[in-house]
Amino acid sequence: MQNLTLILLLAAMAGGAFFMGRRRSFAVVGGLAHSARLHSLPGYYGYFTLIWCLLPALGLFLVWVLVEPKVIVALIIESLPGAQRTMSAGELNLLVNNIQNLAAGDAISGEIDAVMRDAADRYNDYVAASRRMLAALTLGIAGLGGAIALRRIRPEFRARNRVEQVVLYLLIAASSIAILTTVGIVLSVLFEAIRFFREVPLTEFLFGLSWSPQTAIRADQVGSSGSFGAVPLFAGTLLITAIAMVVAVPVGLMTAIYLAEYSSSRVRAVAKPLLEILAGIPTVVYGFFAALTVAPWVRTAGESIGLEVASESALAAGLVMGIMIIPLVSSLSDDAIHAVPTAMRDGALGLGSTRSEAMVRVMLPAALPGIVGGILLAVSRAIGETMIVVMAAGLAANLTANPFEAVTTVTVQIVTLLVGDQEFDSAKTLAAFALGLMLFVVTLCLNVIGLTFVRKYREQYE
């Protein structure tokens, strides 16, 4: 039975359970007229039955669907003749894949022998049997749960409290997903990174000056052992981030000052939404623009004044990234400036300072912690930005501070290492997770500090 049909059947049963629970509640008090004798509103008895009918069955369904493929594959491997069972993990994997494809009727690579055909038939049998069992079990449990709930309905039964308790648990579960996500990120990145550091020492990764993650397929190839010194990546990331900040901080800050202090309300009403559009453009679009419009432009401009500019220069990527970050800096600075009490500005103006003096000498120092927090968040955003650098920055890990040369960044390397076919135990793919760990830790620190600055400061004047 198809999963969708099963879900629909379950939903129908749940709906039925609701009405049966409600009807039952009327029945136990002897009709609609006496419904005031019930502890809870009749609907709650319906919901109570529905929960008992649906939740256990749904839980079983989810677990089954997640576990089913693994169990079936294990069973198939178990039933293979001895020769196949001694194969390496990779070969076995390929064989199982072929069996699955054969079972699904797709084209497969290699020859089909009797063993495989046999296994494929068995695979189909197992899947069909599993489907039947799943359908019978979930529907059975749903029916059983509903029946148990129906039997428990009495006039004095506290259905509302029970239902509300379950809803509360669901709410708690929903809010824990945020925690689970963080735990998931940390664990998934950490485990693979630890596997990586078993092969490559941490010191070499953190302080090594050469990055060439290409590990050879054959042992006797040139450069068969890749080198994993990540310093060029960190340097490249910092270079592009620095260029972006040089663009974004002054422009963003001055924009915020102009909009807060000088502009007429009509200019503000136009400029603010326009800047918000800038913030809403997908980064891949910025990347396209950086690679196809800005990079050639930077190149021609550089060559016209006699500079050697790489076609994937750090400058082009940094400039566009800076533009992307302007709205972030300007909106956070704007918040910070607006949080400073107007009395301070009025006081400065009353003492005869010009508006710019009041801004630079009074407002900005007062808003500084908020602005710094905002800049830290912007730096974190620039470090973690992926698409612009993937499309506009290079792949070669040059250790340079020259913005006209091509550099590569942490995120670019993560993408290049993980896109395409990969086996999961080579140092090359694991390196991506080590880089991901670095990225996560660094941005996390910047975010925590930045957010604390922003929040602490906001409270200071409230």
Partner: protein
């Protein structure tokens, strides 16, 4: 006393001109900074439209194809899968240009029309077998280089070796134009086809459907979970370490680089749970984790804006805490929650970095038909096409971006309208 007052007045006046100049410079700098962002936006949209508008048009060539039985069914039996429809196209072109001789030149001639011409003929015959033996007048898509020439993206005046189209081809195209056998029409292939290696056949349908399936998964997961989490944190959570932790955590998650979510998806959903690679289901799962913080933060703000008097009134009439929330607070906060969700969805629609991690960058021709079919997403399609060297793909990339931005604009407009229409001021 008066002397010193006079003196300070002099000091102030002496500096006044300089200070006013400074003030004017400061103000001008501010104006300039604001202009930078706005000007960039203008340049950006202008380049995009200039580059992309032409992709919505496509060049077609008219051929008089003789459905000759000797070519299609040399053994007397027509097998659609193996019949030489390309041969018919070649014959038709040769008839149009009888003077062309020699293998090399003929091959150049054949390259004027897209490889799709043969497929179109096959579909025609498949739909109406009685066409066999007759002569059919049919408009077929031109090859992408011809298309580029017509749209002015290839300059025929530069040296022949520097352009992908030869002098002879240019001459043939001009002769086709003169005899009205060549015209540009609306490019429907862009919206009905999946990806292709041939620019003139490549469309965004597959990517659009991939994005669509992903957003369905995302909204189905992120909206209920986000709203539930917000309700718990705002209305039920006791002020404890745990709820503080959740709160800090959500704010941080909102600022974690999106690529890290991709690593999570790769390690957990694909390696651990063994869900299929490149599937919209996995993409949707990752994107829902990514947008969850956005939705939670927006929903919390919406709940906070419901005045406490409403809760107190309901409590006073005997409602339970849960009833207060679900009967009164939630309906009033819903517009704000919906706005936050739409904004979160528009962020998810534009996101591509985490999708690269879970294998949604494959070259996929088929339009996905379910949540587990291999698929790409619209922004990933932009990335893939931007990498292609053909000039015609640059044009299509811009067109795909225009479509993507169009969707984002619609979503944001919807959010604004919901906010304007439904939000209450207390």
């Amino acid at each position: 006393m008066t002397a010193s007052r006079k003196k300070s007045r002099e000091i102030v006046e002496a500096g006044l001109a300089r200070r006013r100049r400074k003030e004017a410079t400061f103000r001008a700098t501010g104006m300039l900074a604001t202009a930078v962002g706005v000007i960039f936006l203008g340049v950006f949209f202008a380049t995009l439209i200039v580059q992309g508008a032409s992709a919505f048009k496509q060049t077609f060539i008219k051929l008089d194809v003789v459905m000759s039985e000797s070519v299609l069914a040399p053994d007397g039996e027509l097998d659609l899968a193996y019949a030489d429809f390309d041969g018919l196209v070649r014959n038709a072109l040769r008839r149009d240009f009888p003077n062309v001789s020699g293998r090399g030149e003929r091959r150049e001639l054949y390259r004027l029309v897209s490889v799709a011409a043969g497929y179109e003929l096959r579909d025609l015959v498949a739909g109406d077998p009685s066409l066999l033996g007759s002569t059919v007048e049919i408009w077929v898509p031109a090859a992408s280089n011809v298309d580029m020439l017509i749209k002015g993206n290839i300059d025929p005046s530069i040296d022949e070796s520097l352009r992908p189209i030869s002098d002879a081809q240019v001459a043939w195209v001009e002769s086709l134009q003169r005899s009205d056998r060549l015209e540009t029409r609306f490019n429907t292939a862009l919206f009905t086809n999946g990806d292709s290696r041939e620019p003139e056949l490549a469309g965004i349908r597959g990517a659009l459907m991939g994005s669509f399936y992903m957003l369905i998964v995302t909204v189905a997961l992120a909206f209920p979970i986000g709203v539930a989490a917000a309700i718990y944190l705002e209305e039920f959570a006791p002020r404890s370490r745990w709820s503080d932790l959740i709160e800090v955590n959500i704010n941080n998650l909102a600022a974690v680089p999106s690529i890290v979510f991709g690593l999570l998806g790769l390690a957990v959903f694909i390696n651990w749970m063994a869900l299929p690679r490149s599937a919209p289901l996995v993409g949707g799962l990752v994107l829902s984790l990514l947008t969850l913080p956005v939705i939670i933060i927006a929903s919390r703000a919406a709940i906070q804006s419901v005045p406490p008097s409403i809760r107190e009134a309901a409590l006073g009439l005997g409602a339970s805490k849960m009833q207060v929330v679900f009967h009164h607070v939630l309906p009033l906060a819903l517009p704000g929650m919906l706005t936050g969700t739409i904004i979160g969805m528009s962020r998810a629609l534009g996101e591509s970095a985490p999708l690269l991690m879970i294998g949604m960058v494959a070259f996929i021709v088929d339009v996905p038909g379910s949540f587990t079919d291999p698929a790409t997403a619209l922004p990933v399609q932009v990335y893939l096409w931007a990498d292609s060297p053909e000039r015609a793909f640059a044009e299509r990339t811009s067109a795909a971006i225009i479509v993507l931005l169009g969707f984002l604009l619609m979503m944001n407009l919807a959010a604004v309208i919901i906010r304007k229409r439904m939000e209450r001021k207390w």
